[in-house]
């Protein structure tokens, strides 16, 4: 008989081991999946994990993409993880990301064609405020009326997408764009362009802010009383109340913070890699960041690594579609597997496996 026995305290070893094992298992099962699809599994895995970084032929193009993709994932995931630590489930980062991009872009476009150096900072602040305001809706509904933030934040994603469609064909449409949907292209407006800080590295301001967020979150959670209270709220809500933590305050802070970071990520994306507000701007970063947050064990450093890994599977996945003709759905399945195995392996952090005769009913 195989059975699970609860550990007296969570295993430190397994906390770090599970993400590694989850990646290995994903490779293994993913390889089997790809084999069934007619591809050489070893080649497929190599295309996803190795080629984007080291292939002599095209790593030069794909390597900068790593930071471009990882930047927003990490920035959003850091914000989400702080809320998740407190047991506040913001599932609507995608909506906050979109609203941040719209608000930031709108704030900038209001000054077009000024070349003032203040334009970009103003846009960052506006982007953060846009995401923050969008996240405040579930936050206030939860604190005032006890609504479920999961549902409200998720549904607001679809509202945000509708607004995105509306402004790209209306309010923010490029007046010189011959009637095509989409705003002015920020890449052609130096004051508002979020360009590579070092050419051909993918290192733009969003990546810098992502790194700052990682450090900030780390300090907040390990050193600051607010971070302690956030963790306490998540681990033992009653103990938090006893300690004097105001739950409503934690909800407002956590949702506000994750919204603001998602909004900033949206702004950096719209002024950089995306270039303009357009109907198809929402690319799913807000949802993928949820996987990144969990894959990184809700730990800032872990999220940094998980964001890079997730970005790698994105780029590698595209490469695999291109080179091996694997269907896009199989790549999504592959990424989903990563979260699945992580959560499954997680059991071993709190339980140990016993193989032997049955003792406990």
């Amino acid at each position: 008989m195989i059975r699970l026995e609860k550990r007296p305290q969570p295993s430190q070893l397994w906390t770090y081991l599970t993400p590694v094992l989850a990646v290995l298992l994903t490779m293994l099962v993913g390889g089997v999946l790809f084999a069934f699809l007619g591809a050489n599994p070893v080649e497929a895995i190599r295309t996803i994990f190795w080629d984007p970084l080291f292939n002599a032929q095209f790593a030069g193009f794909t390597r900068p993409q790593l930071l471009v993709k990882a930047g927003p994932l990490i920035l959003i995931a850091i914000g989400l993880s702080i809320g998740f630590r407190a047991g506040i489930w913001n599932i609507g980062a995608e909506g906050q990301y979109i609203m941040g991009a719209i608000c930031g872009a709108a704030a900038g476009l209001a000054f077009y064609p000024s070349e003032s150096f203040l334009i970009f900072p103003i846009m960052i602040v506006a982007g953060a405020l846009g995401g923050w305001a969008w996240a405040m809706i579930p936050a206030i509904l939860k604190t005032k009326f006890g609504t479920n933030e999961i549902l409200v934040s998720l549904m607001l994603v679809y509202v945000a997408e509708t607004i995105l469609g509306s402004v790209s064909t209306g309010l923010l449409r490029n007046p010189e764009g011959r009637g095509f949907p989409g705003s002015r292209n920020f890449k052609q407006w130096d004051a508002a362009h979020n360009s590579d800080l070092i050419a051909n590295t993918g290192m733009h301001w969003g990546v810098v802010f992502a790194f700052i967020a990682v450090i900030g979150a780390y300090v907040l959670l390990t050193r600051h009383m607010l971070g302690f209270n956030i963790r306490l709220t998540g681990e033992a809500p009653r103990a938090a109340r006893f300690s004097g933590v105001n739950p409503a305050r934690i909800i407002l802070i956590c949702l506000g913070l994750s919204g603001a970071l998602a909004g900033m990520a949206g702004l950096f994306e719209v002024t950089g890699p995306a270039g303009q507000v357009s109907i198809d701007f929402g690319s799913g970063y807000g949802f993928t960041a949820i996987i990144v947050a969990f894959l990184g064990r809700l730990n800032p450093i872990g999220i940094l690594l998980a964001g890079l890994l997730m970005a790698l599977t994105y780029i590698g996945g595209e490469l695999a579609q291109l080179m091996l003709g694997l269907p896009g759905a199989s790549i999504q399945l592959f990424q989903g597997m990563l979260l699945f195995f992580l959560l499954a392996m997680d059991v071993f952090t709190n339980f140990r496996l016993r193989i032997g005769k049955r003792e406990v009913a």
């Binding site: 007296p8 305290q9 969570p10 050193r223 600051h224 009383m225 607010l226 302690f228 963790r231 306490l232 681990e235 033992a236 009653r238 103990a239 938090a240 109340r241 006893f242 300690s243 004097g244 105001n246 049955r358 003792e359 406990v360 009913a361």
Partner: protein, 507 residues
């Protein structure tokens, strides 16, 4: 040996790193009330779990009626005629008594039959209980009756009771003892687990004492003094709290007609609770569980705001202040529920120290936590209060109940409170640790602190308190000096308002 029902022979159970039971051998006779005594962590629970089929022994065997008995799950134990009433009830508040009983049975009879059976059993054994009442409305004593009746319906040959009197009033204890004696007269054996030595001396025929997993002795409690029993349990003589009678100073905490609505469907509203505690004084608040104890603690700790003017600290209205502000003023508290309320289970002891002591112990600088100071504080608590743990980095849930309780109480006392409010400070704690905690409470009062102890253990309240009041349905009786009370009067105070009149007449 003919009258032996269950014989335990050399039972040994080893957990990683600890020998929970080491070669335990004793017999439980037919129709015998057999006490199992021991400190927390002495291995009582492990032993009982083996008898009830929740655990298998690593070594040794059990003989039931002389035949080998090896239950692999509780249902096998029940089929063999062994039933158990747990310390923590497993009842559903929203269901009625009969439904709860049916849930615990393998093949429940139709509801109407079951209700009749429940009435029969409850009459036969003097356990008044209405099968149609919703469990959420029952007192702790009544809930226990549900559990006992659930067991009795299976006609057990051996009934295991884990700390049954910890939640009962003296009157309810008497009713329970009558029931147990009746069962004994019918030939049912009872294995009775308790810390309360006087109780064991009054009720039990034989007592087996465990210490650190080993059997220390089997004796006849009626012929052994409570002190001897306790010393066998602890392995050394332990200090009984010193006599009270210190000088009391001015009023530190005054509660004036504090009323609060019930927090939830099964909570209790507070109704015009009024009392005063002076410097150097311990106020004991008794009452059966569920009569507003948790609600009173929440109102005093600041977890729930009280109406303005209802809670006054040294002339200052603190009713609308939250827990942090109250701690800054010196009002500290310790809730009953250790894990999840007083402490965060998965957090380390260091972090659990920060939980209430961050500001008072100067661990914060511009909102940043000094983990060095936090660790130092946790180590101080561990050292002063003899908390047995591998170190301050251990998670709270890894500590035994008694050790965690010492930590939680010690954490508050070491902060030198002006007013300390404790709910059930020694609940489920072994005799030595309980004596230690009580002594700490008395020491705090001797230093001029005011202490409110809410407890269901009357012996404890008599031991530590200067004055005593009882909660009943959210009302607090007038508080009276302990010296003027006997156990009978206290029982009546706990019984409710109309009974109070009787108590007054007696005076």
């Amino acid at each position: 040996m003919a009258d032996t029902l269950l014989s335990l022979q050399g039972l040994t159970k080893i957990y990683p790193g600890v020998i929970a039971n080491d070669d335990v051998t004793f017999d439980i006779g037919r129709g015998e009330i057999h006490a199992l005594l021991g400190e927390n962590g002495a291995g009582k629970s492990t032993l009982v779990k083996m008898i009830y089929g929740l655990n298998a022994p690593d070594k040794g065997q059990m003989l039931l009626d002389g035949a080998p008995y090896k239950p692999s799950k509780p249902s096998e134990a029940r089929q063999a005629g062994i039933a158990m009433v747990f310390q923590h009830f497993s009842l559903f508040d929203a269901l009625d008594v009969a439904e709860n009983v049916a849930l615990g049975m393998e093949t429940p009879p139709p509801m109407s039959d079951l209700a009749r059976q429940i009435r029969e059993v409850s009459e036969t054994y003097g356990l008044p209980l209405d099968p149609t009442r919703t469990v959420g409305t029952l007192s702790a004593g009544e809930r226990q009756r549900v559990e006992i009746i659930r067991c009795l319906l299976q006609n057990p040959r051996l009934l295991i009771m884990d700390e049954p009197t910890s939640v009962l009033t003296p009157q309810e204890v008497e009713i329970l003892f009558e029931t147990l004696r009746k069962l004994k007269a019918e030939g049912t054996s009872i294995l009775y687990i308790s810390h309360k030595l006087e109780e064991i001396r009054a009720l039990c025929d034989t007592a087996t004492i465990l210490r650190l997993g080993k059997k220390v002795a089997t004796c006849t409690p009626a012929e052994t003094s409570a002190r001897q029993l306790a010393e066998m349990m602890v392995g050394a003589s332990f200090a009984t709290p010193e006599a009270k009678g210190g000088k009391t100073g001015e009023v530190l905490l005054a509660v004036n007609e504090l009323s609060l609505p019930a927090p939830g469907a099964f909570g209790t509203p507070l109704r015009e609770v009024s009392f005063e505690v002076r410097a150097g004084e311990v106020l004991g608040i008794g009452g059966v569980a569920g009569n507003g104890q948790d609600e009173l603690l929440a109102a005093l700790s600041g977890e729930r705001m009280a109406p303005a003017g209802s809670i006054i600290l040294e002339g200052k209205d603190i009713s609308r202040a939250g827990p942090v502000a109250r701690r800054d003023l010196g009002v500290l508290s310790g809730p009953e529920e250790r894990l999840g309320h007083a402490a965060a289970p998965d957090m380390s002891l260091v972090e659990n120290g920060v939980l209430t002591a961050a500001r008072r112990e100067g661990m914060l600088k511009n909102g940043f936590i000094s983990w060095g100071k936090a660790r130092q504080f946790a180590e101080e608590v561990i050292g002063h209060f003899d908390v047995r743990t591998p170190g301050p980095g251990t998670a709270a849930r890894a500590l035994s109940g008694g050790n965690l309780q010492k930590f939680v109480v010690g954490r508050e006392i070491l902060q030198g409170p002006r007013v300390l409010v404790l709910n059930q400070p020694t609940w489920g704690v072994d005799a030595a640790a309980a004596a230690f905690i009580r002594q700490s409470i008395l020491d705090l009062a001797a230093k001029g602190g005011a202490v409110v102890v809410i407890s269901q253990d009357l012996d404890e309240l008599m031991e530590v308190s200067d004055r005593f009041g009882a909660l009943n349905e959210g009302r607090l009786s007038p508080t009276r000096p302990v010296a003027s009370l006997d156990i009978e009067q206290i029982g009546l105070m706990m019984g409710g308002a109309h009974d109070m009149e009787v108590a007054h007449v007696d005076e």
